[in-house]
Amino acid sequence: MSADLIADRTVDPIADGRIARRFAALKAEGRAGLIAFVTAGDPDATTCQALLDGLPGAGADLIELGVPFTDPMADGPAIQASSLRALAGGMTVRKTLELVRTFRAKDSDTPIILMGYFNPIDSYGVDRFLADGKEAGVDGLIIVDLPPEEDDELCIPALKAGVSFVRLTTPTTDDRRLPAVLTNTSGFIYYVSIAGITGTASAANTAIDAAVERLKRHTALPVAVGFGIRTPEQAADVARVADAAVVGSAIVTRLADGLDEGGKARPGAVEDVLGFVRTLAEGVRGARA
């Protein structure tokens, strides 16, 4: 890949991947997408695999799969708890990739983006992780604690390996900084709609509209909006202006509600979560009708 291609922030360096194809299809349909987040291995690999495999059928257009970490510094209580459940259930980076591989055998179109923190990947080994991830069917990465200042660590190697590196922009990313944040990003831009952690406050619609508009002036990449979207109505509001709405904590909380005292999924828990995802998808699909 040539250096100028990486540096041009208006062009997706991975233009032929599943993520680009999915956003092109959504555009053709004239609607926004739903990005559903679940934590890998929450509460165990079997339950998570069933949930993951059911997400496209429930209307998730893209999937964010959380790689659990002991110290999720940007996450609120719901995703913290879900990470600890997954780790207690024995989830690892290798087993996370295994979930993706099994999913990919049945679904070759729905993009999967791994979301998490750098240390488990650093520990696994960046080159090995990218090779194994690509092979398993991973399309992109969102790594919370890797700002552009640390691009050499994973972002550049990922782009070279053909794995998208999706960058987070936030209400604190000012105009001076935005070009640096958009450079080397790939797949889509993830707009974090509040200054804060996941699953807590929600931003005002007007603020989200203005932020998406501003990002659109700086990039041709799709813009997804996340943090604080909990209901089909909120998802619909976001879907009116953004290219995708991300829902994480609300889905993870729904799963937690379906666990028994021992932390095992009660019968029907997965179906209940998928039913909730279906309502979110309906919200998103009806937004621009």
């Binding site: 110290d71 609120g76 240390n119 488990p120 700002p147 640390e150 990313t173 900084r177 974090v192 200054a195």
Partner: protein, 405 residues
Amino acid sequence: MSRPNTYRSGPDERGHFGIYGGRFVAETLMPLILDVEKAYREARADPAFEGEMRQQLKQYVGRPNPLYHAERLTELLGGAKIYFKREELNHTGAHKINNCVGQILLARRMGKTRIIAETGAGQHGVATATVCALYNMPCVIYMGETDIARQAPNVFRMKLLGAEVRAVTSGAKTLKDAMNEALRDWVTNVADTFYIIGTAAGPHPYPAMVRDFQSVIGKEVRAQMQELEGRLPDSLVACVGGGSNAIGLFHDFLDEPTVGMVAVEAAGRGIEKGPLDHAASINGGRPGVLHGNRTYLLQDEDGQILEGHSISAGLDYPGVGPEHSWLHDVGRVEYSAATDQEALDAFQLCARTEGIIPALESAHGLAEVIKRAPTLPKDHLMVLCLSGRGDKDIFSVAQHLGVSL
């Protein structure tokens, strides 16, 4: 690894000491981190900032504190001539206040109106609450629920000083979780809040900034030793958790080839027992990324952070400052370790021979002095950083000795 021309030039402009350090934080914090860096650079170049800091360290903290010849201990051990740098005589009883004075002056300079901090044993929390009272700033201290139970007197002290102590119930409920929670608060309140990090770790510029504020320790030792003995010390010893007192003592001497340096990690129940039984990140961990920096960490084979153990709540952290990781790799500083039992023995010996009850953290450094001094000649000048006083530890020591108070 080739020997650098100087050990004092780090970090580079991206905050790296060799491969360690950096700025591994969420995008929301990044603009603020860059602001802190810029404000700190400007403050250092401003004589008024330096002047106010010097004034407060003298009038409020009580610096310079003595470099004290521990005569009875020297005699008892029968080798090196032992000096204590008496950081425990500072206001609030530990070296932590040196850094808090610097950071709160910077926070004010930046126009921030709210302070947050993490604390393990409570020493940094008390020091932060103290400077917040002094400068009339609202202050929230994050402290793990487990530590709150272990350190009740310091919790009450912080409250008396007007701070709000928030119990952290996530994760293992100790220092690393308190730091996670402080980072979560910061990300939510970026506009008005300054995070006073207590040790020489975290995202750049914190490791360099905390080191600079603590390096007053080593600068005083240099001047005091010159006055007392007319020369440089031969060796320096300090305990290391995150490592702020150690880097504060060492930094001024790093380019003096005749000065040896030993940093003492907490070996807990024994490093050989595995990473759940100690808090020795360098001796028993491997490099990784946590809390904004790359450094040696206690972690499992999958990169999950492990909860270390030490009798001392102030050393009970699964990481270490990034400059220490680098100083270890280049071989400039020796990193050894002392067990809970060795620290307990040193704690009691110090009380009986010198009439000083040291913090359990500092007792780890003293344990190394006890091992090393007898093997050295009488003209060897050894300095221990007595980083804190042990009043806060009497309850846990009593418990370990089977005494009920």
